[in-house]
């Protein structure tokens, strides 16, 4: 399969995985290993002073995985920039998944604050991967601001609803000159395959893997779906037709 290139860095896997909601660090590590992901997202939070040794990420091999810190919890550009700077200070990683979600109910990203934060972070040398609604104009504006990808949502975070935004995603994919990573809302491997079939460069999955009854099996299922979808896209699928088109010859029938 062809490789994914983000900001000049090459990856074999087109499946990005989030590390939230896993039952234990061990289950997370098994799922990450099983699906071959190379980029894993993490969040920044206050240390729990009452339980300081809690370290859910201790099982992540930082030589094997690129940690992609997110700015989850940020309600505006200022908070997102602050989190990104802290993440970089903690790890020397200058990649950031930029998310600004002021509305806790649908967790939809704020386009204006996201663009504002992206412009600041790009100027500060960050590799910015912004989480956005499936808005083709915003995707263009972010690209012009210098983001490394765009990450439009399929449906609200953790909702498992799949590609509710398909028509807009197709426009974003058609117009984008940076990788399009479909993020959020993909609940089944078939959703991931669909995103890849329409030409997404990668997908990011968290809830659907982490909260499955068997996260490791689900991780493998997503890996296969992403590969299948990518191969199908590269193979050039035919458009649907209104009428039947016979697969068998229409001559030589045993009649007349």
């Amino acid at each position: 399969m062809d490789r994914l290139v983000i900001a000049g860095r090459e990856f074999d896997s087109r499946l990005l995985v989030g590390t939230g909601k896993f039952a234990s660090p061990q289950v997370m590590a098994q799922a990450l290993a099983a699906c071959g992901a190379e980029i894993v997202t993490v969040a920044l939070r206050r240390v729990d002073i009452g339980n300081p040794q809690d370290d859910t990420l201790r099982e992540i091999d930082r030589h094997r995985f690129l940690l992609l810190p997110n700015t989850s919890g940020a309600r505006n550009a200022e908070e997102a920039v602050r989190l990104a700077r802290l993440a970089r200070a903690a790890t020397n990683i200058n990649w950031v998944k930029l998310e600004v979600t002021p509305d806790p109910y649908y967790l939809l990203p704020d386009p204006i604050e996201t663009l504002k934060a992206a412009e600041i972070l790009v100027k500060e040398g960050f590799v910015v991967l912004p989480y956005i609604n499936a808005d083709p104009i915003l995707a263009k504006r972010l690209q012009e601001a210098g983001t490394a990808t765009v990450m439009p949502l399929g449906s609200p975070i953790g909702s498992n609803q799949g590609l509710k935004t398909r028509a807009a995603l197709e426009i974003i994919i058609e117009q984008s000159s940076v990788p399009v990573v479909v993020d959020a809302g993909l609940g089944l491997p078939s959703h991931a395959a669909e995103a890849m079939e329409i030409g997404a460069d990668a997908v990011l999955i968290n809830t659907a893997i982490a909260t499955a009854a068997d996260p490791c099996e689900m991780a493998i299922a997503f890996k296969l779906a992403v590969e299948a979808g990518r191969r199908a896209y590269l193979a050039g699928p035919r458009a649907p037709a209104d009428r039947a088109e016979a697969s068998s010859p229409l001559t030589g029938f045993l009649r007349d």
């Binding site: 590390t19 920044l44 939070r45 206050r46 240390v47």
Partner: protein, 87 residues
């Protein structure tokens, strides 16, 4: 676990000669003899492994390499932050 970062609440001066630090949004009192001198000493006192933490002291970012040289003073607002699982 889910506590988000926020600017510390206004600092209230420690009473009875106690020293105080606002740590992750909560006031912590220290007897003068117990007050940690550096960020490194503070983390040790709180039982926090320094390797996985980044700090903000009065809004200024402090990386783990700087913990030992960073003095802690009465009345400061300190945020101690680490990576957690997230999507």
């Amino acid at each position: 676990m889910t506590a988000l970062l926020s600017r510390g609440v206004p600092f209230v001066l420690g009473r009875n000669g106690m020293k105080s630090l606002q740590i992750n949004g909560r006031a912590h009192q220290f007897a003068p003899a117990e007050m940690p001198a550096t960020l490194c000493a503070l983390l040790e006192k709180l039982g926090i492994g320094a390797a996985t933490v980044v700090a903000e002291v009065d809004g200024r970012i402090v990386t783990p390499e700087q913990f030992a040289q960073t003095e802690v003073r009465d009345g400061q607002t300190i945020e101690l932050i680490k990576f957690m699982g997230g999507g």
